[in-house]
Amino acid sequence: MVFTDVTPDPIDVVEVLKRVAAAEDGAVLLFLGVVRNHAEGRSVDGMRYDAYEAMAKGVLAEIAREASERHGTDRIAVVHRVGDLQLGDTSVAIAVSTPHRAAAYAANREIIEEIKKRLPVWKKEHYVDGASEWVEGAAPPVPHRAGGTA
């Protein structure tokens, strides 16, 4: 079953992996995004993740569902953390399990790329020198024509 969440709680990697275990699968791929100590040449000592949480939960579920349909597996778990993170903390975990490995790599990669493109989450880097800045992001794809009727 596809599982997704946006949460302030620390991510338990073992639990995420357990969610995708299935007897018919021979390949599991886990991606972890981790807060690192540098960004564009500056030393970082922490990161704040903000989200439009109600929307982010829906978008993350949609991203996982799309990958599920495209790659024929419902053994997908994606958890994105929000709030104040320390160096080394996991900000996102993506686990995909499939019978054969090619689909696991492809689906996993697509999910992180879609997250970067359209998940309404922002991060503020805290630098060792005391400054902090919103990380430059990507403009999400927006429909050109209105879908709704008045």
């Binding site: 995004g33 993740y49 903000d50 989200a51 439009y52 109600a54 929307m55 982010a56 829906g58 994105h80 900000s91 996102v92 992180i112 997250i115 970067k116 493109k117 359209r118 998940l119 309404p120 989450v121 922002w122 991060k123 503020k124 919103w134 990380v135 430059e136 992001g137 990507a138 403009a139 999400p140 794809p141 927006v142 429909p143 050109h144 024509r145 209105a146 879908g147 709704g148 009727t149 008045a150």
Partner: protein, 83 residues
Amino acid sequence: MAIAVRTLFFAAYRDLVGAAEIPVDLPEGSTVGDLVASLRERGHPFSSLPPAPAVAVNRTYAGPEERLAGGDEVAFIPPVAGG
């Protein structure tokens, strides 16, 4: 007739306008683009919002032509940086 919508601001846009949420009244039939223009016409600090920001209506990305209805939740979405 006017409609009342809730506008939400996040991250850099929240810093810019100095508020997380602002109620806005608009003429009936207004679109997302009309809302953006009307806010920017208020002058500082709203005039610093981009002329065509990403916007979500009721938690779904929406184009500038999308019509708004009373009670809509309209979020201004700065470039995203999840992951």
